[in-house]
Symmetry: C2
Subunit: 455 residues, 2 copies
Amino acid sequence: MTGTGLRDAYTAATMQHCDILIAPRWCIPVEPGNTVLTDHAVIVTNGAIADLLPRQLADERYQPSVVIERPSHVLIPGLVNAHTHAAMTLLRGFADDLPLEAWLRNGIWPAEKRWVSAEMVRDGTELAVAEMISAGITCFSDQYFFPEIVAETAVDRGMRAVVGTPVVDIPTSWARNFDEYVQKGADLVHDAFAEHPLITSCFAPHSTAALSDEAFTELRVMADQLDVRVQIHLHETAAEIEAALRTTGKRPFERLLDLGMINSSLLAVHAVFLTDSEIVRCVETGVAVAHCPRSNLKLASGIAPIARYQAAGVKLALGTDGAASNNVLDVLAEMRLAALLAKVEADDAAALSAFDTLRMGTLGGAEALGLAHTIGSIEIEKSADLACFDLEHLNTQPIYDVTSQLVYATNAAQATDVWIAGRHQLEQGELVNFDTGALLARSDEWRQRFASTPS
Amino acid sequence: MTGTGLRDAYTAATMQHCDILIAPRWCIPVEPGNTVLTDHAVIVTNGAIADLLPRQLADERYQPSVVIERPSHVLIPGLVNAHTHAAMTLLRGFADDLPLEAWLRNGIWPAEKRWVSAEMVRDGTELAVAEMISAGITCFSDQYFFPEIVAETAVDRGMRAVVGTPVVDIPTSWARNFDEYVQKGADLVHDAFAEHPLITSCFAPHSTAALSDEAFTELRVMADQLDVRVQIHLHETAAEIEAALRTTGKRPFERLLDLGMINSSLLAVHAVFLTDSEIVRCVETGVAVAHCPRSNLKLASGIAPIARYQAAGVKLALGTDGAASNNVLDVLAEMRLAALLAKVEADDAAALSAFDTLRMGTLGGAEALGLAHTIGSIEIEKSADLACFDLEHLNTQPIYDVTSQLVYATNAAQATDVWIAGRHQLEQGELVNFDTGALLARSDEWRQRFASTPS
């Protein structure tokens, strides 16, 4: 045996098997921050990230079942959509350009009351999941009726989801009263999806106006017992705060504080308006904020002072909100808009950098959902939830700074590949796990039903 | 001859030849307003729109050389980018997340001083034109050095352009002093491209700070003599207005008014800050505003109160500004952002409807550039400048309202076809007139040069 042959034999004997070797041109692991790796490979085995190392070393150390070459692409942690109402994709553009009250009272609510059902939630969630995976999103936090159907649909399509079980005190097609909402939520946490690796449940009281103090207290006890998180629309509009002051004498945040709900398991959705002392409380207690900039513009709610929240150290995530108020489920676009709005709001073009918003759309989302041990960055032992974008397009050339190009110039349609728990769900721009034609046909049938709703 | 045969023969004898019959699922002609036509056809002959009529009638009346079926698409007038610096696509992402002064003084200006040349303008403009056509844009208004190269490149690629010839009082690689800037601009108007159907020239003094009163007076005389329009960056930032007040005792708008420049041939670019009386003056005199919402956010300039401008009756167009401050040339995205920002700025979710912004991005742009007789709407005898977007994508389904879906949910990558003066420049998503690989390679060479600039 020659020296070379001996070395080859030794190398082969010491090489490790792995499932997938992904070799993008660039990799932004998010943790550590402000880092762009060139010519590195991500090694995936058993659905987890097994290694992240220079390509040359990877070729020496690993024998992959599959090699994925992406020579003009950037690989990032899968995007996290920290707030949506997935099934409402069926109401995309249903009632646009209306004042908020008219939008809800004459548009959305009558349509929902007439048509929301398990079947509608299944089809709407499937459309949403297909759209999100196509846009590089690997995890979404949902808040809608029939959450067990949301969970089931996510599992069927290989998507990771945080399923918020709605809690209100009005009867709907899903539950009759507060007790039944909470019980059905608790069942979801404990039963069907308790051990499923892709699904987490949480309680999602709609807003402070939706529940009495007694109900919130009961919910808090239940959430503590079950050890589940809570998400709530909070300070979305000035009108919400004014109404609360009129009816309870307290701002919604203050009321939740008095009720013991302001703690590290709370996700405050929107939080467009926080006073300085509320910001301090968020930092002290670990409350996270799901910033939904596009929805806040479209419904004329306001521009959250995100640069101030960030400077104070508030945990920040990004959400699309539902497609009825956005109108797309595109976290990459929310990242760009968040960065741009923060600059004008703070009167500082250096506010909220491209990397800051990328972190919000990935690891920040994971932290806000209590999933940072599993997802949000490309780190060894985390789940292989990954997204890949091709930058070899006219609108993303030339490239001085990959992170800046991703945030300020890349279009969601440039997502080519998505892996969730190591499963390839988007491959070279094609969804692996959907019959898109049938899905769009069913979506159009729902459109016909919704459009027939008397207003 | 049977009755049917006779009818066929008669029909054939009376049918008119045409070059192209375009049959989209929907057509939004923009004029008349708020109109969506279904199952109509656009007839194109000799580069112009010859007819717009129900598909069935079109099949009875016309014998086209080419039939273009677009069964899940919406056809609109080509988008108009009323303000850009095309060559600066080569500086896309060059100096992001910097305060405005540092961005200009340490980033953009030294790089431009070192590298701007006819060759750089040719390659940068070609990249910009390719990106714009791919995004459904059929006309752009430019402001950069070597405008004759901008015009030449536009003509080479079949793009319509309004070429602003720069006027400043500092020496650059293009001209040495005020007189030479004006003379070279006048030559461009009168010579090479005077009669070219795709090219219009205008004077583009950079800003009021760039010229003395005497120079503006001379420029006005020249512009009147040549009958050309003028475009200028005006009230882009609060700092610009404050500096003018300090140095001249007047706001820039007031100074231009005193100099006789506030008239219907002026395009005020940005105009983020206009007082009520300035708004009235714009309406009275016919000054148009090129609103560049994304650039205004990115450089932290501010949010123009567009709903107020619109209510007053100001002529409104949309611009992307240069890719160094945006970072893409995507009028569809500017339309969406304009509508969203107007809502939050006016505290009214009903402000600036989807159709209002579509009009700004088409006919409004044409009016602002003095081209409304030729482009901006799908009307008989106008030039066949058209754009087609495929709505059969996950993010644009289901469809309740086509205009709303186009503005709030459609991605520029959904542009499938573009015609400019009847020439098919984007065909099923592919650029007809570019060697994209060679173009991107040259763009990357420029990146290497720019990146080597000492700051």
